[in-house]
């Protein structure tokens, strides 16, 4: 079985069309997961009654659940329960009218929020205790101290961890194909169905993921370099 370059190019071109889809899933998942993860991390760090315990159990259990399993599970629940749900709320949309991307977002965001919450919590613990106390001592509330003092200080330290998560999410986006959403990998395999050029198809998908990954890493390295060299500018958020 030889390598046919023109098949590779066909697959690559086809996959290229779906790069925006992959990027969109990645960014939406990352941003929302980061926000939720920050909240979960902060709740657990501050030991807020009930919620802290709840999230601690939730994260422990959920971190062990593979994203693919979650995806398929949620999709099955969605498919079987949608009609009852729609009838109950008098929604006049058919199940086929609803984009399964929402199921994908729920599964991805739930999973990566747990990952990111641990990144946030770890960084929160590394902030010097006096920074919190100084905030309280001048009369700031806990929330004000977190928002104005602690969180801005966490960002530069968190960049490598965030980058790691972002690339993890990029690789995770191809799992949404299990519930029938077309993204880079599925698109790269489209032409292969006629020509049986699966090697070229997968290589084309791999090449694209590499390229996106390298771009993200380089942006990240630039940010890290910037933040360590010009500490002053990065610290200045006002």
């Amino acid at each position: 079985m030889g390598f046919n370059f023109s098949y590779f190019v066909t697959s690559f071109k086809q996959a290229l069309l779906y790069v925006p889809v992959t990027i969109k899933i990645m960014l939406v998942t990352f941003v929302v997961s980061f926000i939720i993860g920050t909240i979960i991390g902060a709740v657990r760090f501050y030991k807020i009654p009930f919620f802290s315990k709840f999230f601690s159990i939730f994260v422990t259990i959920y971190l062990g659940l593979p994203v693919t399993v979650a995806l398929v599970l949620y999709n099955l629940i969605f498919l079987t329960c949608y009609n009852d749900f729609a009838n109950f709320f008098h929604i006049n949309k058919q199940i086929s009218d609803i984009n399964p991307i929402f199921v994908a977002y729920i599964a991805l965001i739930a999973g990566y929020s747990c990952n990111l919450s641990e990144t946030v919590r770890g960084n929160l613990r590394s902030i010097d205790k006096t920074q919190f106390e100084a905030g309280y001592s001048i009369g700031l509330t806990k929330l004000q101290t977190f928002r104005n003092i602690i969180f801005p200080q966490m960002i530069p330290n968190m960049i490598p961890g965030l980058l790691n998560n972002l690339i993890g999410i990029l690789k995770g986006t191809n799992l949404v194909s299990t519930i029938g959403i077309t993204e880079v990998m599925v698109a790269a395999l489209y032409p292969c169905q006629e020509t049986y050029s699966y090697l070229e198809g997968y290589l084309a998908a791999a090449a694209l993921y590499w390229i996106i990954g390298i771009v993200i890493e380089n942006i990240g390295h630039f940010v890290i370099k910037f933040s360590s060299k010009n500490n002053k500018e990065v610290w200045n958020y006002d």
Binding site: I138, T141, N148, K232
Partner: protein, 250 residues
């Protein structure tokens, strides 16, 4: 007037404060002395609720607050009427000297940015650091950082200021500049409670000296009394060690 009654604090099985009471008049400068582990710092932190005491009452502004069961609003009220100067400076790392002082003025006291800026600059000038306004804590020396910390405390115009070993983290050369700023604060007539190991400074600045050991107040009185005519055996022993600290036996 600040009054503290029967303050108790345990860390696990270790009883750090064993029934400490103290009252400080308006404008008075009280210095807490004592060996390490005597509970001075813990006591100071309990006043500002940085540490939650196990028992005790804080009377301030006609209001009695149970130190153990204080509500959020009461805690915030005490904190907004006081300021704390930390041993390791406690400046916000992500803010310049000027922004450090402005933070409380803008967020807590709800002043306009221009007004806060003016107060902050005046305060920095008062500690002799106006030219360092736009420097970040990491770009300042320890002594300068502590002076900014004091400027931040004073700018908030608090009813009382708590100093937690303000010079312990500084090298001998930088101690002087910080102490002279604290003396300036004392001259302003702000009520202060100072924990320090600087004996000559304590003698100079204090209206009253309190000697603590083992979580209790051993002796208290005017500085000259406590330093030169200590009544308690424990105080005598401590002062003998401290005042002769230049003598080393090898």
């Amino acid at each position: 007037m600040i009054e503290l009654k029967n303050v108790k604090k345990k860390f696990g099985n270790n009883e750090v404060l064993h029934d400490v009471s103290l009252s400080v008049n308006d404008g008075e400068v009280v210095v807490l002395l004592g060996p390490s582990g005597s509970g001075k710092t813990t006591f100071l932190r309990c006043i500002n609720f940085l540490e939650r005491a196990d028992a005790g009452i804080l009377k301030f502004d006609e209001e009695e607050i149970d130190l153990k069961r204080a509500k959020k609003k009461q805690i915030l009220d005490i904190r907004r009427n006081s300021a704390f100067v930390f041993q390791n400076y406690g400046l916000f790392n992500n803010k310049t000297a000027l922004q450090n002082i402005m933070e409380g003025l803008v967020v807590v006291q709800k002043r306009s940015k221009e007004e806060a800026r003016k107060i902050a600059l005046d305060s920095l000038e008062w500690v002799g650091l106006k030219d360092k306004a736009d420097y970040y804590p990491s770009q300042l020396s320890g002594g300068q950082q502590q002076r900014v910390g004091i400027a931040r405390a004073v700018a908030l115009n608090p009813k009382f200021i708590l100093f937690d070993e303000p010079t312990s983290a500084l090298d001998p050369e930088l101690v002087g500049e910080t102490l002279s700023v604290i003396k300036k604060v004392a001259k302003k007539g702000i009520t202060m409670i100072i924990v320090t190991h600087e004996m000559s400074f304590a003698q100079e600045v204090a209206d009253r000296v309190i000697f603590m050991d083992g979580g209790v107040v051993v002796e208290e009185g005017a500085p000259d009394e406590v330093f030169y005519k200590p009544k308690e055996e424990r105080t005598k022993k401590f002062l003998a060690r401290i005042l002769q600290k230049d003598m080393y036996y090898i």
